[in-house]
Symmetry: D2
Subunit: 250 residues, 4 copies
């Protein structure tokens, strides 16, 4: 049996702040069941993917240790309430990523506590809510996250995010975006922290239907398969007995 | 359907110089059907892996365009006859990697024409055939190529390869070896060239039974699954029509 | 005038926990004026390097905003009292690195709050205080931090640190260590966070005279020159006016 | 004395194909003494930089072993006559880079034999000679090659180069370009091969005055200082005596 394929389902938890949808009629019209449900519904079409949702206003933000223990890949969308996410929950999620859980960070979650903790960087960027079009160029077409995509695809209206983006040099840059207003952005990039694979993906401002876009949905599904853990290893910093004979202390 | 899993078989071609086995009784005793057959037999145990062999002394070294067209992942072992490999065949293999074929380069093939062409580097190292033991430490336990491996494993006798190893900074270093005689070596590392994923793996001197080792076999099987292509894209450098209106030339 | 060389001095602050030296006669004998002073004295031999020291038990650990404002490169040694370092000071240092200050992290500071915050990783490893010898192999001889070093050098007695080391894939690995007891370790590696260059260097257990070693001193001096900032840019996440005409909102 | 600064001059050789300037009046008007002389003149303004030129139609393309031996950093511009560059000279330059010589590859030299040999990749891209404007965003403002630059700068008219660019994942991406027609491009990126530091920089189509632009000139000067060698080490693949006792062969 191959160690790299398995028939077990991938358990995805989609975390969403879930505030804009309740406060803003435009957002509610686009995502009547929340951004999380739009994403989860798209993922569930893939055989072998199981989804659950978790949101900010649930107890422990829906991210109990039991939920994280049963999560292979965590997707994170947040924006207006980053500061309301408990530091303790952030530490719990961080620890779980280091053990091996995959993590997909979306759009405005570039400034979420968990992404900033994983990156150790500013995670800052330029932004503009206006009438820009976004064109995503696939700069690494053979990366598993780009499987099945055309050479480029467009989102007719999106918030602009512009460079410099304050991230550690990515392991792989998969997408670079062009914006009408003259900016560029590394829109899809990967890192590893501990045993966890991390993917940041730019699109998804709440006032646009980006998570209903077929190419965006394909990216998210590919990323889930890519980020799936192969190990779960708790942090340890052990004293180690020598494996070879050592000289006797003089 | 997920774009990143498929039920199609992975077609592996194991290329072997196949000279030592015919000239040296020690090597023949360890690999009576050739190094290629030892590797292929281990890979065929994995459902969904199909193997074929190709060797230096076949016409076109067994690597016709038709064979390469039907190859997803090419494994390469060579040592004493690197210079006998035709430059034309090397260019053909190189082009096929750039299109997307995976490539696994073994042991003394660090000085093969194809590895040197892919790396653009010296690919040089220190070496010693003596009585060293090799201990391979898994420095990236969550990489798919390390799936199912212990934290370290040993080969009781192997040729020593020592740093500095003249390779481009790898995308991921997976193994670092410790040798009895005092050296260290980046024994497993990955790169991408064009659309092809490349893995170099150090063990496998012809006078030792390393390709019969269960951990070595697991690494090779994992690497085959990891290197499997998701695209095949021929090289092109096209003139492109603009996607947005351009100013009229003054 | 070249933009990359300058005649201004490099201002180095050497931060030391400075506890072992006061409590342990062995350590005091090796570093009578503290580890910080041994390092600073070696650096001051280089024209154009100015040093100051800062220690845990000073007010604000000696790291007031004014001191950090006047620091180009911060060196950090800590071990037994990581938890006594104030979270506020860690945030202040972190912010200063992101603006551009260079940072050199030594030995047991792999578990310091500041290194863990910069890396976002476990930073864990194996360790052993015994009778190991350490041999550092220079795997990237042309990196500026390796300038003037031989191909390898030895520290006759050091604490062992072993892989797996829980760090993000480094931008460059410069040193890999061999230990008598059978382990290996990525002993010198670089990253960037924000605008700051970061170098981790393994040697320097308090009971051994490693910071009196000529090769170790050369590494530290090289690292100071390498980490010197070329910019200081405060974190900002600004709204940006378009640089090109945007379509009018429909 | 610091090992990383020195008062010796940096010896730069600017290699130019030097054909367009002789055949095309537009190009000749922009670069009356050749592209090489425009670049060299800008570099010579920096104290400590010495320049010489070499061109395709000189014997050995001006790149004798003696010239390369006396070159610290080689700059390369070529376009219409890549195929006329002798394979032997390419091998000579390649070997010199691996020893430690810095290399700066400009614009259409993305398809030069030497860049393709160093990268091992397709080096292909999209292109268009039209009326695009190029805006270069500095995505890594603290890289030494970006010293002294604004956050972005523009070239009012340039040939378009678009992604996907067939290069190995760079060690650092410094510039990403936005083009009017809707494309993006990684316009400045670094790699290391052997002991040589390599920088690719996109601008410089022969029909535009890009090498007279102050920001472009600053990039080139910064790159020369960055690429300066700290070692010269010939390729070797030696048998190594053990540094520790080995078991006696049984």
């Amino acid at each position: 049996m191959s160690t790299t394929t398995t028939t077990a389902a991938i358990r995805v938890t989609v975390w969403n702040e879930y505030r804009h949808e309740k406060k803003n009629a435009t957002v509610a019209a686009i995502y009547p069941d929340g951004i999380h449900e739009a994403i989860a519904a798209a993922l569930r079409k893939h055989p072998g993917v199981e989804t659950r949702a978790a949101t900010l206003d649930e107890p422990e933000h829906g991210l109990t240790q039991a939920v994280l223990d049963a999560t292979d890949v965590l997707i994170w969308w947040g924006h207006m309430a980053h500061h309301e996410v408990s530091d303790d929950i952030v530490r719990r999620v961080h620890a779980r990523v280091l053990e091996g859980m995959g993590m997909i960070v979306l759009h405005s979650a570039h400034e979420s506590k968990i992404f900033m903790a994983l990156m150790g960087d500013t995670c800052s960027l330029k932004w503009r809510e206006a009438t820009d079009k976004e064109r995503l160029w696939v700069v690494n077409r053979s990366h598993p996250i780009a499987a099945g995509l055309p050479e480029h695809f467009e989102l007719p209206a999106e918030e602009m995010y512009g460079e410099p983006f304050g991230i550690p040099e990515p392991e792989h840059v998969i997408f670079i975006s062009w914006f009408t207003g003259g900016e560029v952005f590394r829109s899809g990039a990967t890192w590893q922290r501990g045993n966890g694979r991390i993917f940041y993906f730019r699109p998804g401002h709440e006032t646009y239907p980006s998570y209903h876009d077929a190419n965006v949905q394909r990216v998210l599904a590919n990323a889930v398969f890519w980020a799936r853990p192969t190990v779960r290893i708790p942090r340890a910093c052990p004293r180690a007995e020598p494996l070879e004979p050592l000289p006797v202390k003089g």
